[in-house]
């Protein structure tokens, strides 16, 4: 196909046995398909594609750099007398470290940890996703690093608790990513049920299908508490809604694919959601 129509590179091709059915997978072999002596295939152009890795790297590099621009109070953001000054509140420095750590972790995970089942996604997604991540990062960073920023009401107690929650969930999230990676041997695209490992942070698999999202929510709740900033709360909420949608979808496909899937598990919040 690609030789005849070079503009439709393989990632863009969707081939099906039935025009309204699901696409065939890359690994499907002609002999094993439910067809007779002649086979009819339906082709669909999925549109311009871009690799997941590229999208993730761009999505995450943006917030990292944008936040730092606000932290260092680069000109034209705040009133000129504050250019290149730093905040007098130590929680602002802490917040910058946490935010940056979070996105550096995500970038490294994208490069070294995650094993993607799909190679590509539609090109327009990168514009949508970057607008979301970069937009929210700028909005949050503007207020946290603002000269008129107000530190949390309950001071050091609140910040300490928030930091504990944040770090706990960052480690948790990372543990889940490692556990998921180890489920799948390199180069394969097999799917297996994830189970708790020796790492206590993975024991949450007993109660939840997508604990990576659970921990992610926890991290952002921690960050919200740490900064006591409404835009951060808004970002946490929107992220939570999106992750819940994804978790429910993943949970449903686990249930469909595996007869023996543990019944105690909820998609994202133990017993609740």
């Amino acid at each position: 196909m690609f030789k005849m129509y070079p503009q439709w590179y393989p990632a863009r091709q969707s081939i099906r046995l039935d025009p309204k059915g699901k696409s065939l997978k890359d690994e499907d072999v002609l002999q094993h398909l439910p067809v007779g002596t002649t086979a009819t295939f339906y082709f669909r152009d999925l549109g311009a594609q871009i690799s997941w890795v590229t999208v993730f790297l761009t999505e995450y590099a943006g917030p990292l750099l944008i936040y730092l621009m606000f932290y260092f109070r680069v000109p034209f953001i705040y009133v000129p007398k504050y250019d290149f000054t730093t905040s007098k509140h130590w929680v602002v420095h802490l917040a910058c470290m946490c935010h940056s750590f979070h996105y550096v972790k995500r970038l490294l995970e994208t490069l070294f940890v995650h094993r993607f089942s799909h190679g590509t996604m539609p090109l327009r997604n990168i514009f949508k996703n970057c607008t979301y991540y970069w937009g929210f990062a700028a909005w949050m960073a503007y207020y946290i690093n603002h000269p008129l920023y107000t530190p949390p009401t309950y001071g050091e107690q609140q910040i300490r608790l928030a930091l504990t929650v944040f770090l706990f969930c960052q480690i948790g999230n990372f543990s889940i990513h490692i556990a998921l990676r180890n489920l799948r041997p390199p180069g394969s695209k097999t799917r297996k049920i994830p189970y708790p490992t020796k790492n206590p942070f993975t024991w949450i698999f007993l109660l939840v299908s997508c604990p990576n999202y659970t921990y992610e929510l926890g991290s952002w709740l921690g960050f919200t508490l740490m900064t006591q900033c409404l835009p951060v709360a808004a970002f946490t909420l929107v992220g939570f809604i999106q992750m819940t949608v994804w978790a429910k979808g993943k949970h449903r496909s686990y249930l469909k694919e595996f007869r023996d899937y543990p019944t105690l598990r909820s998609p994202i919040l133990p017993f609740i959601l």
């Binding site: 046995l17 499907d28 603002h146 920023y149 006591q228 469909k256």
Partner: protein, 250 residues
């Protein structure tokens, strides 16, 4: 790979080709007829109120006050239409309907009601008249469409439909002009009083400038208005095309 699972019980949300669209039941249709009749009546009340006030006063000035209450009531009532889409008794997009209704409600409450000084502006009359005529045609059309199993009503429905799409050519720009001029008139008062605005510092580290927000709203008309306008023009061509065929068959 196992054979594609077509007829299993859990196909509902995964296999979109087999999704059966459940239309409204008889109870829903009855409710919708009542809803649309009530809304038609409501906007007729507003229309009559405008005419009477004009005749009594002899000028266009300040007619808003004569219909302020029914306008607020019936325009806000349109929020139910979002619910109708969400529940599925009306086959429209929740997002699109939500957007349209919210923009009307925003203008009614967050601009005209909130900024007293603009209430006597002529621009208010401009959009109120545009809305009134549009809504009377729109709701009466929906009423007749819902009752369309009665054959002699189809002609009335078509009559209204043609007029809906034709009057729109004038009414839509008129409404948009009225809305934009009203928001523009509100700007200085919003800036002066800091209406609906929050400044820093505050303990939630958040700020909102309603004045800038209103300017943003005005700017958003630039991409949105042409899209909606040309969508309606295309719909109109389609509808008029069908009408010709229908009358030829007759």
């Amino acid at each position: 790979m196992s054979a594609p699972a077509m007829g299993t019980s859990k196909t509902a949300h995964t296999d979109s080709s087999h999704k059966k669209k459940k239309g409204p039941g008889t109870l829903a249709i009855a409710y919708l007829v009542i809803y649309n009749v009530v809304m038609t009546a409501g906007w007729l009340v507003i229309a009559v109120g405008l005419v009477r006030a004009y005749l009594a006063r002899g000028s266009y000035h300040g007619l808003y006050y004569s219909i302020e209450k029914p306008l607020k009531f019936f325009q806000t009532g349109a929020l139910l239409e979002i619910l109708h889409c969400a529940v599925g008794i009306v086959p429209s997009s929740v997002v699109l309907t939500g957007f349209q209704v919210m923009s009307r409600v925003f203008l009614t409450w967050a601009v005209t009601h909130s900024v007293r000084e603009v209430q006597s502006e002529d621009s208010v009359l401009l959009f109120v008249v545009a809305w009134t005529v549009t809504e009377i045609i729109r709701y009466s059309f929906y009423t007749f469409s819902l009752l369309n199993h009665l054959p002699y009503l189809i002609k009335w429905a078509s009559f209204l439909n043609i007029h809906r799409y034709t009057f729109f050519i004038v009414l839509y720009p008129m409404g948009v002009a009225g809305e934009l001029l009203t928001i523009y008139a509100a700007l200085p008062y919003v800036q002066k009083t800091g209406l609906y605005s929050i400044t820093l510092p505050n303990k939630y580290n958040f700020s909102f400038d309603y004045h800038s927000f209103l300017i943003l709203v005005m700017v958003s008309y630039i991409p949105l208005f042409p899209q909606l306008y040309f969508h309606m023009m295309r719909q109109r061509k389609k509808v008029l095309g069908h009408m010709e065929e229908y009358s030829k068959v007759e």
